[in-house]
């Protein structure tokens, strides 16, 4: 745990395209997964002897299975629009972190084995044999892509480097060269149900502790139910929400929202993880296996709704793929979206006036909001385009008096990744994480200096952990990142149990009367 040996980039007033430094990040590689972790996911334990054949065959299988992948590989015209859009390129200066160059690592091999011109005249069309060197480059640079999709926004063809990274990682898994961080974690979820490996008794103990804490603080018994059959809502949230800070303050916020709205809810010890690392490694099978746990838990507990907590790529998988992976969800209440995001729930309750809020409880902070990449560019919220940007901001503005956005190029659709997404949130990649955070840190510094921003809210477990870790490198404090629902939780004015219940009853009665009339 010696101090990492690299220089933290200097914060400038706005991102400047750096001078190229070839190969400067070639050394950055995550630990390779141990045979045990590999085999649990159905991959070879270590690099197989005939890895070249296996890799090329797998590549063909993937381009055949995923039409998008082949289109992405075929359609690049080298226009250069993506070159300065990747936070890892901006932070490291390594030209292989330009999205087009990253794609080309995969594309050149695809051309060599799967296109006529590449088979006949490889040199003329930039086609190359798959060699050990190429595999090495793949391992390094496909683990320097956080699959945030920022580059795809600026690509005139919409080429998505994230999908190419996922495919490359899947090929590497197939030949026995997987990444330790992701694969160890996926294995844990298959057995225990969450990324942390948090067993049911520990989860129960943690939740019990939270009930005590909230009661001590507010005088109100707010429940954190676990495995309660017949609850209306199953909340699926990243296990970091049980473990880390400021994540756990977000969990307290969800509980207060459900409590005050009178919605019965439960967590599941079987599906105690929202995150789905199967996506990071491009593995449909693993992604599906993880998603099916959520379906199973919903069936076992007999819930009517599934709500997801604050987790970026979990929401991508949930919003975009859950129905395909684990549907149909015809056993759930059709009056609610399947699944629903906790911000949508809170937003709806605020609009209906069902939450009593005192924004001055957050007056010690001036806030800004970091759009998480997978929420921003791979999903939506609510029933209108751009809802994924507006809904979280509307929630924050309802519970805080002081809010400022970061510069427009760095938010919304153009948001910068935190630097730790896509399965890179591991200590062995700390240099990459620190450098990749540079564009976000510059945008944050901007509003800190100009508007006195003191805290940045985030809505993804990875973003929260990443910022807590890298803030000190840029002279911010680790506790300057907060959960969105931490702010909600601070602002909710809880009333003693009885009063609350009678109010809920009254509003129900009023509704019944209105309907009868």
């Amino acid at each position: 745990m010696a101090a990492a040996e690299f220089e933290t980039p200097k914060i400038r007033e706005y991102p400047i395209i750096p001078r190229l430094q070839e190969g400067v990040m070639a050394h950055s590689k995550p630990y390779v997964a141990k045979p045990d972790f590999q085999e649990k996911l159905g991959y070879p334990g270590e690099l197989v002897d005939n890895w070249k054949e296996v890799a090329i065959e797998k590549m063909g299988e993937l381009t055949g299975k995923y039409r998008s992948l082949q289109v992405f590989l075929d359609s690049c015209v080298k226009c250069g629009a993506c070159t300065d859009k990747c936070h890892y390129y901006l932070g490291t200066s390594d030209p292989k972190n330009m999205p087009v160059a990253r794609q080309d690592l995969f594309r050149k091999v695809y051309r060599r084995y799967y296109t006529l011109s590449g088979k006949l005249f490889p040199k003329l069309v930039g086609a190359e044999d798959l060699t050990e060197e190429v595999l090495d480059d793949w391992y390094s640079y496909f683990h320097q892509c956080s699959q945030c999709r920022r580059c795809s926004v600026y690509c005139p063809y919409g080429i998505d480097t994230a999908e190419i990274s996922m495919a490359a990682r899947e090929v590497m898994d197939a030949v026995g060269k997987g990444q330790k961080y992701c694969n160890e974690i996926i294995g844990k979820v298959h057995v225990i149900g969450n990324n942390l490996g948090l067993p049911e008794p520990a989860l129960a103990d943690t939740l019990e502790g939270l009930e005590e804490d909230v009661e001590e603080e507010t005088g109100v018994q707010v429940r954190f139910p676990l495995d309660e059959k017949g609850a209306e809502v199953l909340l699926v949230t990243p296990s970091a929400d049980f473990f880390a800070e400021p994540h756990i303050d977000g969990l307290i916020g969800y509980a207060k929202v459900f409590h005050q709205a009178g919605i019965s809810w439960t967590l599941s010890s079987y599906a105690s993880e929202a995150a789905n690392f199967g996506m990071f490694i491009g593995s449909y099978e693993n992604m599906q296996k993880l998603a099916l746990r959520i379906r199973q838990a919903a069936l076992d507990l007999g819930v009517k709704r599934i709500v997801f907590g604050e987790c970026g790529h979990a929401w991508r998988v949930a919003y975009s793929f859950l129905n395909t992976l684990a549907g149909p969800f015809d056993f759930l209440d059709p009056d609610y979206p399947v699944p629903q995001h906790i911000c949508e729930v809170t937003h709806g309750l605020i609009e209906q006036g069902k939450l009593t809020l005192d924004p001055s409880q957050n007056d010690d902070m001036v806030l800004t909001y970091h759009d998480s990449c997978n929420v921003a560019r791979a999903s939506r919220m609510g029933d209108r385009p751009g809802g994924q940007f507006e809904i979280p901001r509307e929630v924050i503005r309802s519970v805080c008096n002081h809010y400022v956005d970061m510069p427009s190029y760095s938010i919304g659709e153009g948001t910068y990744c935190c630097g730790g997404g896509g399965g890179l949130l591991t200590d062995d990649l700390i240099e990459l994480r620190v450098k990749g955070a540079l564009p976000r840190m510059e945008a944050l510094k901007n509003v800190v200096d100009d508007y006195g921003v003191t805290h940045m809210a985030a809505m993804c477990a990875i973003c929260k952990s990443q910022f807590s870790k890298v803030f000190p490198y840029y002279d911010f404090q680790m506790d300057q990142v907060v959960s969105v629902h931490q702010l909600v939780g601070n602002a909710i004015v809880l009333q003693p149990e009885e009063e609350n219940r009678s109010e809920a009853d009254q509003s129900e009665e009023a509704q019944d009367q209105a309907e009868a009339a």
């Binding site: 745990m1 010696a2 630990y31 330790k180 961080y181 160890e184 974690i185 844990k188 969450n194 990324n195 942390l196 490996g197 948090l198 067993p199 008794p201 520990a202 103990d205 943690t206 502790g209 939270l210 804490d213 990243p238 296990s239 970091a240 049980f242 473990f243 880390a244 800070e245 994540h247 756990i248 995150a275 987790c311 949130l425 200590d427 062995d428 477990a461 990875i462 929260k464 952990s465 870790k469 680790m478 506790d479």
Partner: protein, 110 residues
């Protein structure tokens, strides 16, 4: 990788976490701290001992909040916060203290 203590060799993973939980002995924690340029005092040991007993019961390290609460009860309320724990373990109470206590590294989005 391995760690040498009292003439004996203990297997660790790439990041220096003990491979076998049962190998743990206090001298190992001291050796790990020394390698990080730190020295373990009484309060470090309170944390390490709590981690070990929690792990024994639950097979997982405690949540940061569970840990801060427990340390607050033992060492006084002013020390029951993550700021104090970060003073003790600058690389993070969850990871650095777990390592010294011989526990596996917490995984996930933490």
């Amino acid at each position: 990788m391995a760690l040498e203590v009292n003439g004996k060799s203990f297997e660790t993973d790439e990041e220096g976490y003990l491979a076998n939980l049962n190998d743990w002995q206090p001298e190992l924690a001291d050796a790990m701290a020394e390698a990080d340029g730190a020295e373990l005092g009484e309060n470090h040991w309170e944390v390490i001992n709590f981690l070990r007993s929690y792990y024994e019961e639950y097979q997982i390290a405690p949540a940061v909040r569970v840990l801060t609460k427990a340390i607050g009860k033992k060492l006084g309320k002013d020390k029951g916060n993550s700021k104090y724990l970060y003073e003790l373990f600058p690389y993070g109470p969850a990871k650095q203290a777990c390592k010294y206590a011989g526990l596996p590294k917490p995984t996930g989005c933490v």
